[in-house]
């Protein structure tokens, strides 16, 4: 009976596979679906994560402040960082009814080291760590994907120093390592340092260097007619030459954001002066959603595929898949934890050993000290005894001498008296005495 039911399902599904287009004879109402979807997203809030890569002092923080029209954080960083670190800050912004959780990640100390070979590594590790966190959440048995705070980097703004000549080799190497992991938008920082003609040449040089080195930067999508035109124009303006400023200057009768020099004022939002408006337009107003989608469907999928293949999974045996995926992942994680624990044990044992040794040493020393002390004490006592003996003998001598003295004095006094018998007596006494 069950087989017949299954067969019936199969046939019916095949018939339904080629879905037919059916005309509607009235207003059904599902045209409200995009609205329903948008409303749900509004209630949920959005999140967007930008990574700013560039050398210290290129105006990364200022540009973020200018883009999002707020003062974000802290003081400028020093140039003496030992390695490249990534500092990330999350802000809650709101505009009309849209709540955005914006995370700005800054590379601190990029390009400051003498040996920059490993500069890109911490950036790549950071990006991978965000993917890993998402993958872990996705693989969990009990997961909460819809309320997960997505920390994956959606856009990477790469700040190019305005030398006017070409890309630095650090830039090329870093961008090459990042292009398969994140959407890269190269921008020329502090572009008010370059003249217009130099800028055009600079842009061409950069683009050709990127192409010849096979660096894939983010292309604004041109498949949707509404935005195809503006996106393809903007693609031709890459890299954007930007100037950032949060200071306002009075031009004419309005206040604009600008940088004031003795020879003139560079207006941030003037398209003749710099490409800031283009950047804001492309990054936020037109393609924010596409950036998020590309991150999820392209970069994250690539990471996931590589990671799972690395762990030894294949798609070819569908039977054991769902469970071994989770299971083996867990098993491998447990294995790793086990190893960590073993190492911890070893270290602990070594520590205990060392402590014991030290203790023994100290005990030895203590014993020696005690012995020494005992010896000294004994010595001291012997000395004391000797001294006392000597003292005694001296005392005896002194007593003897005193007695003699008394006897002599007595004899002397007796000699002065008349009577010879006394002398005899004295002599006798003297004899008896001696």
């Amino acid at each position: 009976m069950q087989e017949r039911t299954m067969a019936a399902t199969e046939i019916a599904r095949q018939a339904g596979e080629g879905a037919r287009a059916v005309p509607l004879s009235g207003h059904v109402g599902f045209d409200s679906m995009p609205d329903q979807l948008v409303n749900k997203s509004v209630n949920h809030g959005f999140c967007f994560n930008i990574l700013c890569v560039g050398e210290t002092g290129l105006g990364k923080s200022t540009l973020m402040d200018t883009l999002f029209n707020t003062k974000f954080e802290g003081e400028p960083t020093q140039h003496n960082q030992p390695g490249v670190q990534l500092k990330s800050n999350t802000y809650e912004l709101q505009e009309s009814n849209v709540r955005l959780k914006l995370t700005v990640v800054n590379t601190v100390g990029f390009g400051d080291q003498i040996n920059k070979e490993d500069s890109y590594k911490s950036i790549v590790e950071f990006i991978d760590a965000q993917f890993e966190a998402y993958l872990q959440e996705e693989l969990k048995i009990k997961r909460t994907l819809h309320s997960y705070h997505d920390t994956r980097i959606h856009a990477c703004l790469y700040f190019i120093a305005p030398t006017g000549h070409s890309l630095k080799s650090l830039d090329l190497v870093t961008m090459k390592k990042l292009d398969s992991k994140v959407n890269i938008i190269p921008i020329i920082a502090k572009s008010d340092a370059i003249s217009k003609s130099e800028l055009a040449k600079f842009k061409i040089k950069i683009t050709s260097e990127l192409v010849s080195n096979g660096v894939q930067i983010y292309q604004f999508p041109t498949d949707d007619e509404t935005v195809a035109e503006i996106n393809s124009t903007m693609n031709g303006h890459l890299p954007f030459a930007v100037v950032g400023s949060t200071e306002e200057v009075k031009i004419g009768n309005k206040m604009v954001r600008a940088r004031q020099y003795p020879w003139g004022t560079v207006q941030v939002e003037n398209e003749n002066h710099c490409d800031f408006v283009k950047l804001r337009e492309m990054l936020i107003r037109v393609n924010m959603e596409d950036l998020r989608e590309q991150t999820h469907t392209r970069h994250y999928e690539l990471y996931r595929r590589c990671k799972l293949e690395e762990m030894g999974f294949k798609d070819t045996d569908p039977d054991s898949k769902p469970f071994s995926l989770q299971e083996t992942y867990e098993a491998k994680r447990n294995e790793f934890m086990g190893e960590l624990q073993k190492k911890e044990e070893e270290m602990r044992q070594m520590f205990v050993q060392r402590v014991k040794e030290k203790e023994a040493e100290l005990k030895e020393a203590e014993k020696e000290l005690h012995e020494k002390f005992d010896r000294l004490k004994k010595l001291h006592q012997d000395e004391k005894k000797k001294l006392e003996d000597k003292k005694k003998s001296l005392d005896d001598e002194l007593n003897g001498f005193k007695q003699k003295k008394t006897a002599a004095e007595l004899l002397q006094s007796q000699n002065q008296q008349p009577g010879g018998s006394a002398t005899l007596k004295k002599d006798k006494e003297r004899k008896n005495f001696f």
Partner: protein
């Protein structure tokens, strides 16, 4: 400058583009971007209709979507033989309205409740629903997976209650009890034009009591209300469930207008008139206001629950693909 910025265009600049306005960043443009993406991608909706034959399931589907979407219209057989077992037949259509494209799949279950012995008649249906979840799970677990996983999961199951006017039958209770755990169930009173308004109210109250007594949670489920506003709206709906509906794909002249209805000797029942039947409420709930919510609950709650069970059970079992019958998910 402040974090909470409302985009204003200063009066002197009202003729120029808003981009010149100082304080407008443009974050809310993401709504438009999302809308564009949604329009381009289109939507998918899978509705299952369950009920005895003769309750007007196909007609209701046709009425809901104002076109011949039911299986009968597709297969073209006017005379229907009641099948000996339950069959699951699904038909897909591409419909479009004001630029919004939707792939609608109607899943019919002929043979349900029609046998003499209806024991376990819910099993093929539960198996079908779980198979869709399984298919989605397999695709999601692939290493090399599609950009958009085709969604064939059943978003909503409309259960047709025959208009007896008394109470739910044991079959109804059993079915809804089991299926409300794996799919969103929307119960409707079919062919409600056979009940007077008082009988209707009594019937509805009785049904609601029985649902409560049996712990059956139909859509919109109380536990998934997101906030106070949601709860308020959903409470109103919960007080009206089950909707007493009448379906029709025939138009008649009523008061000078052409309306969908059923013409009888004693009057014409207007399908879309809320004084006559509650079809309009059902349509609004399913299509105009809660469609996205229905899909969300399916994907983030029912599907996740299935996934948890599946992954757990295969972690604890020694051999992976033991016979895990859908019945094992039942309580």
């Amino acid at each position: 400058m402040a974090d909470s910025v409302i985009s204003e265009i200063p009066p002197t600049m009202c003729l120029e583009k808003p981009s010149i306005d100082f304080s407008y960043v443009g974050i809310d443009a993401i709504l438009e971007q999302m809308r564009r993406k949604a329009m381009k991608q289109g939507f998918e909706l899978n509705i299952m209709v369950v009920g005895q034959s003769g309750l007007g399931k196909s007609t209701l589907m046709n009425t809901l979507f104002k076109s011949k979407v039911s299986r009968k219209s597709f297969m073209g057989t006017a005379e229907e033989k009641i099948p000996k077992t339950i069959e699951i037949k699904s038909v897909s259509h591409d419909i479009e309205e004001k630029g919004v494209r939707m792939k609608l799949t109607v899943i019919d279950t002929p043979g349900f409740g029609d046998q003499i012995n209806n024991e376990n008649c819910w099993q093929p249906i539960m198996k079908f629903i779980n198979d869709q979840y399984e298919q989605y799970l397999q695709e999601e677990i692939n290493i090399d997976r599609k950009k958009r996983i085709p969604d064939s999961r059943v978003h909503c199951c409309i259960y047709f209650i025959p208009p007896t006017g008394h109470c739910l039958r044991p079959l109804d209770v059993e079915f809804m009890r089991r299926l409300s755990k794996v799919v969103n169930i929307v119960p409707v009173i079919a062919k409600a034009d056979t009940l007077t308004l008082e009988e209707r109210d009594f019937f509805k109250k009785k049904i609601r009591e029985e649902l409560r007594a049996n712990g059956i949670d139909v859509y919109p489920q109380k536990e998934f209300d997101e906030d106070a506003e949601d709860r308020m709206i959903n409470e109103k709906i919960r007080e009206m469930i089950p909707f007493a509906v009448v379906g029709s794909d025939q138009e008649y002249q009523v008061n000078g207008r052409r309306l969908l209805g059923r013409k009888t000797k004693w009057g014409t029942i207007e399908v879309e008139n809320i004084a006559h039947c509650e079809f309009a409420y059902l349509r609004d709930l399913l299509i105009r206001t809660h469609m996205q919510n229905i899909k969300d609950i399916t994907s983030s709650i029912h599907y996740e629950m299935y996934r948890v069970c599946r992954l757990n059970e295969n972690n604890t079992q020694a051999n992976g693909l033991a016979d895990h019958h859908p019945a094992s998910h039942e309580i």
